[in-house]
């Protein structure tokens, strides 16, 4: 169970990063950013490229995050910003889909189709232990990176002028401009930050798997959607906690109930997504909302 617990924490980190990127965009911009899996692919490609170039292993993850950061700015500038300027908020979702199509196409053009093997992460695969818990360097790195990056994003979004600026720029660009906000830069910075989170997840996943695939696997993405559906929109801490809890619960069920079929995982995640969305639909309005109405 020790190694499986570490594995579950690693998977929880990947799910938490993707879920955080999704819920922050949903909170700030009001749409489900389908380009998040594309950012995952960007991070995966960055890590794969650096691994193939025999770069030090820590640089694989940093390169993945950096590629995602730049990709996030490019996606915002080329696909989303023109629509934001025209006030077509409803078109953000299909535009993010268009951006992700371009990323998938570029990724497949740059790398061989299908799964490509990459050098083994020797240093990051070394085992360590704390008490009974045995884990690899990559497991520890994933958890630490997730906690630090999600904490920083939480502070940036909820405790600084930056988060208010993004909301203001999305809801009322003119008022935000009058308040001295750089409405052309603030949303791009938010998209870049969330894209960097998702691409860090992609880089970690690729380094762990030892191969690059042209897309994001369905089960982690379903896990991320379940975390987004179950947590309040924009709540980074609760989203991360649910992501880790889902992953640990999955590992626990797999250990205690080994006769469960393989398809039980996607089924369970789909049920959780449905339950979270149904709960959100039937939840009574908050007192503040009642007072406002």
């Amino acid at each position: 169970m020790d190694a499986r617990a570490a594995e579950a924490l690693f998977n929880g980190s990947v799910i938490a990063l993707v879920a955080t990127a999704t819920t922050v965009v949903l909170d700030l911009f009001g749409f489900v950013n389908v380009a998040v899996p594309a950012s995952f692919v960007l991070g995966s490609a960055g890590a794969f490229a650096f691994a193939s170039a025999a770069a030090p292993e820590w640089q694989w993850i940093a390169a993945g995050a950096l590629v995602g950061l730049v990709g996030g700015v490019a996606i915002d500038r080329l696909a989303l910003d023109p629509l934001r300027r025209r006030g077509r908020d409803a078109a953000m979702l299909p535009a993010s889909i268009g951006a992700s199509l371009v990323v998938y196409g570029l990724s497949r053009a740059a790398f061989a189709p299908g799964s490509s093997a990459m050098p083994h992460a020797v240093a990051l695969s070394r085992m360590a232990s704390i008490g009974h818990l045995k884990f690899t360097g990559l497991d520890a790195l994933a958890v630490i990176v997730t906690i630090i990056s999600c904490t920083l994003l939480h502070i940036a979004v909820h405790r600084t002028r930056f988060g208010n600026g993004v909301r203001a720029a999305c809801e009322n660009p003119l008022a935000a401009q009058l308040m001295g906000m750089r409405i052309d830069r603030v949303p791009a910075a938010a998209m870049a930050a969330t894209s960097a989170l998702a691409s860090t997840a992609g880089a970690l996943y690729t380094a762990h798997a030892g191969s690059m695939n042209g897309g994001m696997p369905a089960v982690p993405l379903l896990g991320a959607f379940a975390a987004v559906a179950l947590a309040p929109v924009g709540s980074i801490g609760i989203t991360c906690l649910i992501a880790f809890a889902l992953s640990l619960a999955g590992a626990l069920f797999a250990a205690q109930l080994p006769w469960l079929p393989a398809y039980s995982t996607p089924c369970a995640l789909a049920v959780l997504v449905a339950a979270g969305l149904a709960w959100r639909r039937t939840r009574p309005p908050a007192p503040a909302a009642i007072a406002e109405s």
Binding site: F31, Y104, G105
Partner: protein, 247 residues
């Protein structure tokens, strides 16, 4: 192969077109497509039924599933609706793969004739899809696309029904535009032609589809079909002025 892929893309875009009338962008099409393909495969493999019966069964099964899914998602607001329909698309092939539904290779049975027949059967039926049956009608179109995909020997793995399929579906639907089910066919034909034109630059049709989708969203938000229709009306109403060059 182009005609077959145009038929599949058109049917899949029709599943979006059906629900766009209600102001919703459903992303569940590839999930229903996968369901239709797996049902057609299972019936063909275990019951040795004819290709046409498998196609009808795939579409019918997707319609029934669509009616059930519609009951679950119809009251959701926009963002939860997107998450729900996208999760459905992810979960169908994931379950089928984990359950090893597909065993052995899939052999091509269909041809261009079957593609045209399926598209011709789907278009008029969907044109009459109204009100609460829109989602189920869209699921039927996607299921038909999946069964058709199976007849062409397509690989029934998760990547065939993944996020890039969602993207292509939305690109065809948005480029074609609203107003008529024929817009979906127009979108599929336009994107296939653009991919052919861009072939010397890139062999990745996904790049062409993505760029076309973004450009249309920015510069032609209603799609190509309504613009063509308004152009046609302008031409047909004032032929004399156009001939004089004074229009």
């Amino acid at each position: 192969m182009t005609l077959q892929s145009i038929a599949i893309d058109s049917l899949l875009a029709l599943s979006v077109w059906c629900t766009l009338g209600t102001g919703r962008l459903t992303l569940a099409g590839p999930g229903f497509m996968a369901f239709g393909a797996y049902v057609a495969f299972l019936i063909g493999q275990h019951m040795h039924a004819s290709m046409w019966l498998c196609i009808v069964a795939g579409a019918a099964a997707s319609t029934l599933l669509g009616a059930v899914v519609d009951l679950c998602v119809s009251n959701l607001s926009n963002a939860p609706y997107t998450i729900a329909t996208l999760s459905f698309t992810l979960v169908v092939p994931a379950i089928a793969t984990a359950a090893h539904v597909v065993r052995g290779p899939v052999h091509p049975l269909g041809n261009a004739f079957s593609a045209i027949v399926c598209l011709a059967a789907g278009l008029p039926a969907l044109a009459f899809a109204r009100d609460r049956w829109r989602f189920a009608a869209g699921a039927a179109a996607a299921g038909l696309a999946g069964a058709l995909y199976w007849t062409f020997g397509g690989a029934l793995n998760p990547s065939a029904f993944g996020l890039d399929r969602v993207g292509v579906m939305v690109a065809v639907a948005v480029v074609g535009g609203a107003g008529s089910p024929l817009a979906a066919v127009l979108g599929a034909v336009l994107l296939a032609a653009l991919a052919r034109l861009a072939a010397p630059l890139t062999d990745q049709a996904l790049i062409v589809d993505g760029v076309a989708l973004i450009v249309v969203l920015v510069y032609l938000p209603d799609g190509v079909w309504p613009r063509l229709i308004s152009l046609w009306r302008a031409v047909s109403r004032s032929p004399g002025r156009l001939a004089d060059g004074t229009a």
